[in-house]
Symmetry: D2
Subunit: 360 residues, 4 copies
């Protein structure tokens, strides 16, 4: 079957016809891949910049792809939860089996680092015509979101990060006088798919959201921002018109992008670090530390998601489909064939929010 | 009566005979001051470096002092909780009455900043022979810790900070396989009274603790470290011999002191910012941000304490008195008369851990 | 305008033309009522069995109705959150302003009992052509659920109760090895609208749900149960075929209905009491107490909901509309005119799940 | 060596000279038993009433005893945490290794029931001259509480139960306006060692405590109650003089003892079931269910404790020794030799609070 493969740590990606006849064992199902999404991690692997990527043990190539949706084709012995025709999304990280967090199903908090991640490190991914997986790693997707279900994985990471915000802020009363979060302001730095999902999710939780970039919005971005009642803010105009902030989410990884915003922080605020990059340098001083102390400021880095977060992501996509109609579908700005996969995974398409490969 | 007064924002402190005849209203008690401790905040006010200090409304002078213990002398109408002769410690911060956190008794999380703090801003402190206070601001101290009860206030802030650690780390399984914290390592930067209290409290919670300074310990520090089964670590020897860390607590406020330690962090670790200073500058880069993201690292600044934390601090002092005997009493390295207050509040005594003024 | 009024504690209800010219003050909006639902509490008031019902202060009559949806007609000064044409649902209970829970927006946990409840005690309800309310008591409803938005109130109480389950069970690891609740079984006693909502909500949270009644399902009930992948179970066949239970929810109020089920409890299970009734008596013994102790069993009674629960209820209705299509709309088994209100509020319609009055 | 053995399910106990030469393997220590306490469970086993008691696999006898303190005599290879001469208390329950709660060190919440309990079921207990145990099951006790350290086990179960109270009540604001629990009233039913420990622990957490029995206090009980500022209340005088209650703790297991007290419940209150018994029967009705619903009442059964609770119990004993002097030591009303063990384990000593066997 066709697959998109990489040879980390070497750069490059190719479409290849592979033979990978996988038997469906008890407790497993065979899944025909429908769509796979492309994200920065895929591009980091293909460019050779992500150095932790590696093939499965004893293999020289890795099948790329960790954002996927497929349809169940064949059901193994003893499987009751799924039947032929069900739409499913696979989880990415599979735990080490050693640390307590992995034992309770939270490999996103793995302590040993001995996990594998499909399409990233140590486990083949989903950019191929079909794959076999254990049912414990699969999440069901309802029919009405068949067109956007492949966005479950990126959204799941955002669901986990917002979970972190709410868990951590539970250290005090952070809800408003009417029990909602409607008095809280969130600034989201970066307007790609992750920034958009943070905005949607925080908005759904009641927050007032400002989506920040250092340029004006594209027409699609402007539509999305208005449809979900958020403000798209061009930071090159200065920060004066931004409100004071209870949450700042960085999706860029550039300290120079989010550090100047910290002066907008209210007391007891929280900074969420989600984006990763390299190279950028900034100076911090003792006054910033004092500011964090005097105002009970929290910071949290957040990575990955549990299966429960995938389930919740599916529910949010379903809710948003009913509430916002074409908003989320419009985030998929390009749909390409597997043959064009190596090209789009190597280079961003102009105006892209999310590029998706259609497998069947 | 005698009092130590300051005129913020001007530097300087003096002993003065003041007339401040306070009536004991219903719900109040009159307290004879026994001891007041001196801390960095007092010295910052006296040096003029702390710019937020201010007298009570309509006053030109502020009575200094926020670490106090006294004995109840006179009990107002309707007071049932205290009787003459009871030892008490007053809380420092009194809430704004507006924000939700203040309404539920958590002014340490005040959102408006419209609180007052005895001896610091907007409310006279306790460096005087007696004071009158509402019972709701008083915490009882048992007789056996009469000699160390004035340490309740500094400890209360540490109790709150450790509360923050445990609350925030609840985002995952952070206890060990035997339900304790005995597999967790904490590095505490700075070996003053605050660093010592962090070490004692984390130790009491089961953590393995390393107390860090850029010099060898004084004999008293060496005694204290050994007595509580912690390691005093001189960082000038390099960081190689330190274990990997689940918690780093900074009590110095200098980013150059704690940033190099972050390379010791394990996954899911937490950095607690408690110390404040100024001037120090360091460079951070995008790789540090990526490290925080990939490893779910949290940071929290912590300030002040609630009355419940004062109560718990009293319990910890009592426990440590029984368990460690003279350890905590030995933290009081000097006891001076009020007349010497202005001098010791202006300048640190060599070898000082905690200097205390004895009022009667 | 037309209104349905009662004179508690006397039985009876009537449609009456009332004059109640309410001005729209700053921060308020005028709402044209679209629909009001009828529930057991309304019927308890009309039958005279609910003894705590009372008119507003200085009034002799009470306007009935607490399950409502309307459309904003007029917006008061300073109102930014709503505009003409917005669909809204009002919350029912308004806090005492004294206890801490009411101060932070959680009157569902009021400690003093000095709250009022629209249409129930001390505050006129929504069974009238229009009403004026403060924006802080209003929750927005999106257009796509205009036909079912009046179900927000009953669902909000279920959202709070499930919140209680998850909060309380946090005392241990209660999620399954894959981080979801898919290994947990819930038995819901009673198949009315509340039982149906508990089933839907627990199902959406991953639980396996059994909906229990002492008869076979009606065709509509059978459809609903199958559509949401739950099992409708007739308890007259004995309890043998029921699985062991992690949650039992009683919506009947009859101890004789839920007590026999407790033998199905697994360790660490929880019983939720939601239904209220009277008259029924059963005997319990020390062995039941021992069973609760040895197995860490919890019980919680749950009443009312916060505004945040109303918001979440709106989101669930939206999600279910997309996912299950006509399932929730089919719960509305009758739609009557205000003139027929007194009749349907006095007597259940055969086959009724939810009866709704259409106001415009 | 001498040991007290039982042959469950048969009644009876005897002192016997057993040969049980246990080697000290790596990670283990040999412990010389100093004291073992006697509790209701021991007596239930000896009377034959507790039917779940059983010997270790392939054994016909069980060594009794689960409340113990000893001193380390010999240290196995690789043991760093303990050294010869250290005082230690062993935990009782050892997990199933299968369920998630046991995997994270919380066998007190074991889901499978496949745990063993030293001296109770499936594992020999500590009523013998010495025993060998893994260090992971041992908790260190400081010298100053050598005389009361054997009370750690019963207290640990109370610590867990109070943990349950505070965890569950976190569902709302339950702290008072000053952040403490000083406005909350607790009624503790039963004045044995468990009732006394509940009173001490709730008192230490700030609660106002009433210790209830259906008789006047013994002189020792009167002393203890006064010393810890609680009220000993004889319920035969009626309940009128009791205050309304936020917590009721039952330590008797008799529903007829605690059910009449429920009329004292405030809104949002919690009933803790800790005692177990049999035979007693009472009638409850639908009005009680309605009361639970309308007032958000919670109930929780609590059994056993984690190792962390043992650690905290040691800290509380140490604190109370300093604060209350001889209060806790006076709870040990008799100290007997092993030879007298079978007699005292068969029958309560008049005036007994806690009877202890001294082994060396």
């Amino acid at each position: 079957m066709k697959a998109i493969i990489v040879k980390p740590p070497n750069p490059g990606a190719e479409v290849k016809d592979i033979e990978l006849s996988q038997e469906v064992k008890p407790g497993q199902v065979r899944i025909k891949t429908l769509y796979t999404g492309i994200c920065g991690t895929d591009r980091g692997i293909v460019s050779g910049k992500i150095t932790f990527s590696r093939p499965q043990e004893n293999a020289s190539e890795l099948i790329l792809g960790h954002e996927a949706m497929g349809v169940v084709e064949e059901v193994g012995e003893g499987v009751e939860r799924f039947k032929k025709g069900d739409l499913v999304v696979p989880v990415v990280r599979r735990g080490c089996g050693i640390c307590l967090n992995c034992k309770i199903g939270r490999p996103d908090f793995c302590e040993t680092g001995k996990f594998v991640e499909a399409g990233i490190r140590g486990l083949n991914g989903f950019m191929r015509e079909e794959f076999v997986d254990d049912v414990m790693y699969l999440v069901r997707v309802p029919e009405p979101i068949k067109d956007i279900g492949m966005l479950t994985e990126p959204l799941s990471n955002v669901v986990k990060a917002v979970d972190e915000i709410l868990n951590i802020q539970n250290r005090m009363i952070w809800t408003c006088g009417d029990s909602t979060y409607e008095c809280r302001n969130a600034l989201v730095v970066g307007s790609g798919p992750i920034g958009t999902f943070f905005s949607l999710l925080l908005r759904t939780n009641g927050f007032n959201v400002y989506l920040l970039n250092k340029r004006d919005p594209s027409p699609t971005e402007a539509y999305i921002a208005e449809r979900m009642s958020t403000t798209f803010y061009n930071t090159t105009q200065g920060l004066e018109k931004l409100p004071s902030a209870d949450v700042i989410v960085d999706t860029t990884g550039y300290p120079s992008a989010f550090l100047p915003l910290l002066k907008k922080f209210k007391k007891n605020a929280i900074l969420v670090l989600f984006g990763t990059s390299s190279g950028d340098k900034v100076e911090i001083d003792a006054d910033l530390v004092t500011f964090f102390v005097e105002n009970n400021i929290a910071v949290v880095g957040s990575v990955n998601a549990s299966k429960e977060h995938f389930r919740e992501a599916v529910n949010y996509l379903t809710l948003w489909k009913e509430k916002y109609g074409s908003l989320v579908p419009r985030m998929i700005t390009s749909m390409v064939s597997p043959e064009n996969g190596p090209e789009v995974v190597s280079k961003k398409i102009p105006g892209e929010i999310k590029t998706v490969i259609k497998w069947s």
